[in-house]
């Protein structure tokens, strides 16, 4: 009956972020928040594990004041309780700060048998948090999982790597990160959506985590963020005759010396 904690990040939906043509700066004014894509897989996996093995799932997030918008959403996806840390420092936090904050929070609310993360956050995609948490908490780490199961205290998993897969197992507690293919996140039902408002959420104040000021100073800072724009010819053939289009494309490829 594992006690699980899933760490999720509330990020901007990158599909709503526009690149301003004047200076290539990013305009996120229309961007809505979302639970980072792969974190939905982590939440789902925790929910599935608990449905199968018993136990309980909590969720934990660290973000700016906007993380409050995520609470109902995450609770409708399975976790029984969500802990949230809302602090302006999250705006510029790097993976080091994020891991420091999350690890301190886990020490306070834990212990947990299984701590789940997504494979990477959809904004920064640092792919660091899980391994950093394992280092800070002094427990093992299994990353990039395609399959996960728990039997008693033993956690078994299949990792999917560039050159193949590997089976690994370890005794809890452990930090894991999951790939998106591990499951298909459920679409919360009406009852789950309504039930979410009745589940508890607890704010954790950053000041109560006993962190030193330097733990909150990012070591990596981002600057000169510029949207990426493609310079392409954009010659598009869209006549109703596919054969004509194909002939024109063939001519185009020939002019590029590709055929």
């Amino acid at each position: 009956m594992p006690k699980c904690l899933v760490c999720y990040k509330w990020t901007l939906d990158e599909q709503d972020i526009k690149i301003k043509p004047e200076d290539l700066s990013l305009d996120a004014s229309r961007a809505k928040g979302k639970i980072s894509d792969f974190d939905r897989n982590a939440i789902e996996e925790a929910a599935l594990l608990v449905e199968k093995n018993g136990g309980a799932v909590d969720a934990l997030t660290y973000g700016t004041a906007t993380v409050k918008q995520s609470l109902k959403d995450v609770l409708s996806r399975g976790p029984a309780k969500v802990y949230w840390i809302a602090d302006a420092s999250a705006e510029s936090a790097d993976a080091a700060v994020t891991a420091n904050v999350l690890a301190a929070a886990i020490r306070k609310i834990g212990p947990y048998d299984l701590i789940l993360c997504g494979e990477g956050s959809s904004d920064l995609f640092n792919q660091q948090t899980a391994a950093r948490l394992s280092a800070l908490l002094g427990i093992p780490c299994l990353t990039f999982l395609q399959k996960l199961s728990v039997e008693g205290a033993v956690v078994s998993a299949t990792r999917k790597l560039e050159d193949g897969t590997e089976e690994v197992s370890v005794t809890a507690p452990v930090v894991v990160s999951v790939l998106s293919e591990i499951n298909k996140p459920r679409i919360p039902t009406l009852k789950q959506v309504l039930g979410a408002s009745k589940k508890p959420n607890e704010e954790i104040k950053l000041a109560d985590l006993g962190l030193k000021p330097e733990d909150l100073v990012p070591k990596a800072t981002r600057s000169s963020v510029k949207g990426f724009v493609m310079q392409r010819k954009n010659v598009i053939f869209k006549e109703s005759s596919a054969a004509d289009n194909v002939a024109k494309l063939k001519a185009g490829l020939a002019s590029e010396g590709l055929i």
Binding site: A95, A96, E162, A220, F228, F237, V246, L253
Partner: protein
Amino acid sequence: MPGIIIFSEDSMLAAQLMTPALELKQSLNQPITALALSEADAKALAALGADHAVFLQSAGKWVDGCAEAIFAQVNKAAASIVLIGGTLRGKTIAAYVAARMNAGMTTDAKTLKVENGKLLATRVLYAGLALCEEAVVLPAVATIRSRTFLAPPAAATPGTVESVTVETDARVTLGAVSPTGDTGVDITTAGKLVAVGRGFRKKEDLKLAEELAAVLKAELACTRGIAEDEHWLPIARYVGISGQTVKPDLYLAVGLSGQVQHMVGCRESKVIVAVNTDERAPIFEAADYGIVGDLYEVLPLLTAALRK
């Protein structure tokens, strides 16, 4: 004296890391220590100009298990910069080491330099929507993906090689390891690619793309969904932020929408061609040439036309 450390369990990638390491050595005037999991790798890296190469000898087979041992070496060398090959294992080890060092880390750096006591890297944000500069205070860790740099030529004077016995993480038990098939092709070196996406309705339909690829002398590539969700093609063939980065002369994208997470892996291709039914699909903005049309109609015609 502080130094630069490099590590990758992938021999080719380790050699590529020597290029930025040598550049950084120029500006920092610090020696390079290369860590390797085989004696051959250690020797090869010493030959490429690592001042010192250390073969980490262990009984454990689980690569990630050597993270703590790598941290010990880093600590010993008082490393100012640690460059680690950006494979999935490498990233796991790098993040662990960075946390143990209490250091910052930049993921998938595209360029690297040192300025005012900071490691400056360019990298992507929002899965490729934007580029940014990330400045990491020293000591700093960076991961670098395969083929970001070319391996340097052999050095005039090779460095020294040492072998140390290390302990690996015994808490994790490694079971069966299954290499992926299809190891023969490497889409990252192909001159032409036909990339397929979810516009294909079933696995058998990929025949259409295979036939086109055959006349073009191209290899098949795909989107993440085709490899990871449908398992129609091996994982080594998918392109994007979490897949491969390719720069072929021709990238012919069929039935794929062109989301930024995919395009970031192929946008440096010389010519991009799109076939898609949806005129508003983002792939057309990223394409030099495109046909708005049904791939089931267009591909056979195109294959036939190119055969002539």
